[in-house]
C-alpha cells in the first residue's frame, strides 16, 4: 500500500520517554489536586493540560490547516489571555473581591511583616543570578517567593515566557505545601518560650471598622501605588478594583460573581493555558529542577525574613509587649493557610494562646506586600537588565 506506520499513527510513532515523563507529571498534579486537595482549582487543569499537550501532534497546540500549521485552541488561549496579561489580571479582580482588609485596620502595625516576608523573593533573585540566569529570568523565578500564583504568572509572562510552566507549578505547589514547609523553619528559628508569647495585648480585635474607611482604602492604595510606581498599577489597581466591588455595598451580585464564577472560570482557563507551555521539550530540562529547588528556597527565606523581623522588633519592645515571632512567617500571601499554621503551632505550645486574629492581619498585609513586590520588580528590573 505504501502507507508507513508513522503516517498511520503519527502520535504513537512520535512518542518519546520525555512525553511519558510529562504525562506522568500531569498525572501527579491531578493526584495532588484530587487526593491531597492541593490547590485543586489550578493543579487539576494544569495536570490535564500537561497530558493534553504531551501527546505528539496534539491538535490542542497546533493544527495542520489549509494554510499550513495553525495555532490550536490552547495556543489561541495563550496568545489571547496570557500574552495580553488578561487572565492574571481578571484573577486579581477575583482575589481583590475575596480580601477583607478590616483585620489590617485593627492591627495596622503588623503591615511591617508583609514587607519583611518578601525577603525570599530577593534572596532567590540573587541565588538565581549566581546560578547563571539573566536578571529577567531570575526575577521571574524569585517571584515564586511572593507565594501568590497570579503575581508569579504575571511577572513571568512579561519577563520569561519560556520558564512560565515550571514557575507556575512551583508557585502553586508550594502555596499548597505551606503547612508542611513553614513549621520546621519556624521551629528552627524560635525558642519554645518565644512560641508561647501571647498577643492579647496587641491591637483591638473587636474594633469596628468604618465602611467609608474600607471603601476609601483601595482607592487610596491605588493612587499612592500609582504615583510612586505607575508600572505596578495594572497589578495593584485590579486587585483594589476587586476589593472596591466587595466593599462598596451596592454591587453584592458582582462581588459574589467575582469571588465565585469569575475566579473559577478564569482559573480553569489559566491552568489549562499555562499547561500549553509544559511540553516535553520545554519542561523536561535541568532548568525545571533548578526552578523547583529555587522556589522552595524562596519560601524558606520568606519565612526566615518574617520571623527574624519579629525577633528584631522584640529587641526594642518592653517586656509584656513582645510579639510572638511566629506571626512574622504569615507575611506571605498564602492566605489563610499561613495564619492557620501559626495559630495551630501556637496552640500546640499553649492551649490558651490564640494567635489567629493577629496572624490573619499579618497574612492580609502579606497579600498587599506580595503585589507591591511584584510591582517593584516590574518597575526596577527593566532599568537594570
Amino acid at each position: 500500500m505504501g502507507i508507513e506506520f508513522s503516517q498511520l499513527f503519527p502520535a504513537i510513532a512520535g512518542f518519546t520517554w520525555q512525553h511519558f515523563v510529562m504525562i506522568a507529571v500531569g498525572g501527579i498534579l491531578i493526584y495532588l489536586a484530587i487526593a491531597k486537595e492541593y490547590e485543586p482549582t489550578l493543579l487539576l487543569p494544569m495536570g490535564f493540560g500537561a497530558i493534553l499537550v504531551n501527546i505528539p501532534w496534539s491538535s490542542a497546540l497546533e493544527i495542520a490547516g489549509a494554510h499550513g500549521i495553525e495555532p490550536g485552541v490552547l495556543q489561541v488561549f495563550f496568545n489571547a489571555g496570557i500574552m495580553t496579561e488578561i487572565f492574571p489580571l481578571l484573577i486579581f479582580i477575583a482575589i481583590g473581591a475575596m480580601i477583607d482588609f478590616s483585620p489590617l485596620f485593627r492591627n495596622p502595625f503588623l503591615l511591617i511583616f508583609g514587607a519583611a516576608a518578601q525577603f525570599g523573593i530577593f534572596a532567590t533573585l540573587i541565588l538565581a543570578t549566581l546560578l547563571g540566569y539573566d536578571l529577567k529570568e531570575a526575577a521571574s523565578i524569585g517571584i515564586i517567593g511572593a507565594a501568590d500564583g497570579p503575581t508569579s504568572i504575571f511577572v513571568s509572562s512579561l519577563f520569561a515566557k519560556n520558564l512560565m510552566g515550571p514557575i507556575s507549578v512551583a508557585a502553586y505547589s508550594y502555596m499548597a505545601l505551606v503547612p508542611i514547609i513553614q513549621p520546621p523553619i519556624i521551629k528552627a528559628l524560635t525558642t519554645q518560650s518565644e512560641r508561647k508569647i501571647r498577643m492579647n495585648q496587641f491591637g483591638d480585635n473587636n474594633k469596628k471598622v468604618s465602611k467609608v474607611a474600607l471603601i476609601l482604602f483601595p482607592i487610596t492604595v491605588t493612587i499612592i501605588a500609582g504615583l510612586i510606581a505607575p508600572v505596578s498599577l495594572a497589578l495593584i489597581g485590579f486587585l483594589m478594583f476587586g476589593n472596591l466591588i466587595r466593599e462598596c455595598g451596592v454591587l453584592n451580585k458582582l462581588s459574589l460573581a467575582a469571588q465565585n464564577e469569575l475566579a473559577s472560570l478564569v482559573t480553569i482557563l489559566l491552568g489549562i493555558t499555562i499547561a500549553s507551555t509544559m511540553t516535553a521539550e520545554r519542561f523536561v530540562t535541568i532548568d525545571t529542577v533548578k526552578i523547583i529547588g529555587l522556589g522552595l528556597i524562596a519560601f524558606v527565606f520568606d519565612t526566615f525574613g518574617g520571623v527574624m523581623c519579629a525577633k528584631l522588633i522584640n529587641v526594642f519592645m518592653p517586656k509584656g509587649k513582645k510579639i510572638n515571632p511566629m506571626i512574622g512567617a504569615c507575611g506571605i500571601s498564602a492566605f489563610p493557610m499561613s495564619a492557620r499554621v501559626v495559630h495551630t503551632m501556637g496552640q500546640k505550645e499553649d492551649k490558651q494562646n490564640f494567635l489567629l486574629m493577629p496572624a490573619i492581619s499579618v497574612n492580609v498585609g502579606g497579600q498587599i506586600g506580595s503585589v507591591v513586590a511584584g510591582g517593584l520588580i516590574l518597575a526596577l528590573i527593566p532599568l537594570f537588565a
Partner: protein, 77 residues
C-alpha cells in the same frame, strides 16, 4: 544626453536609498542591547534587592499612615 543624465540621477537615487538602508541596518544592530555577564547580573540583582526591600518597607509605612488617617477621620461606630 538628457536620457543619460536622467539615468545617472535614478542610479544615484537608488544608491542613496541603498546606503540609507545599510545605515539603518547598522544602526539597528548597534542598538541591540549587550548581553550582561553573570557578575553584572549578580551585582544588578543585589542592587535591585536593596532598593526593593527599602521600597517595600516605605510602601507599607505609607499604607500604615493611610490606614491611621482613614481610621481617624472615619472611625467605626
Amino acid at each position: 544626453m538628457e536620457d543619460t543624465n536622467h539615468m545617472n540621477d535614478t542610479i544615484q537615487a537608488v544608491v542613496t536609498e541603498a546606503e540609507a538602508q545599510v545605515t539603518v541596518q547598522q544602526t539597528s544592530i548597534e542598538v541591540q542591547p549587550k548581553k550582561k555577564s553573570q557578575s553584572e547580573n549578580v551585582t544588578a540583582s543585589i542592587e535591585v534587592t536593596g532598593i526593593s526591600m527599602v521600597a517595600i518597607f516605605l510602601f507599607m509605612f505609607v499604607f500604615f499612615l493611610a490606614i491611621k488617617a482613614l481610621d481617624r477621620y472615619f472611625p467605626g461606630k
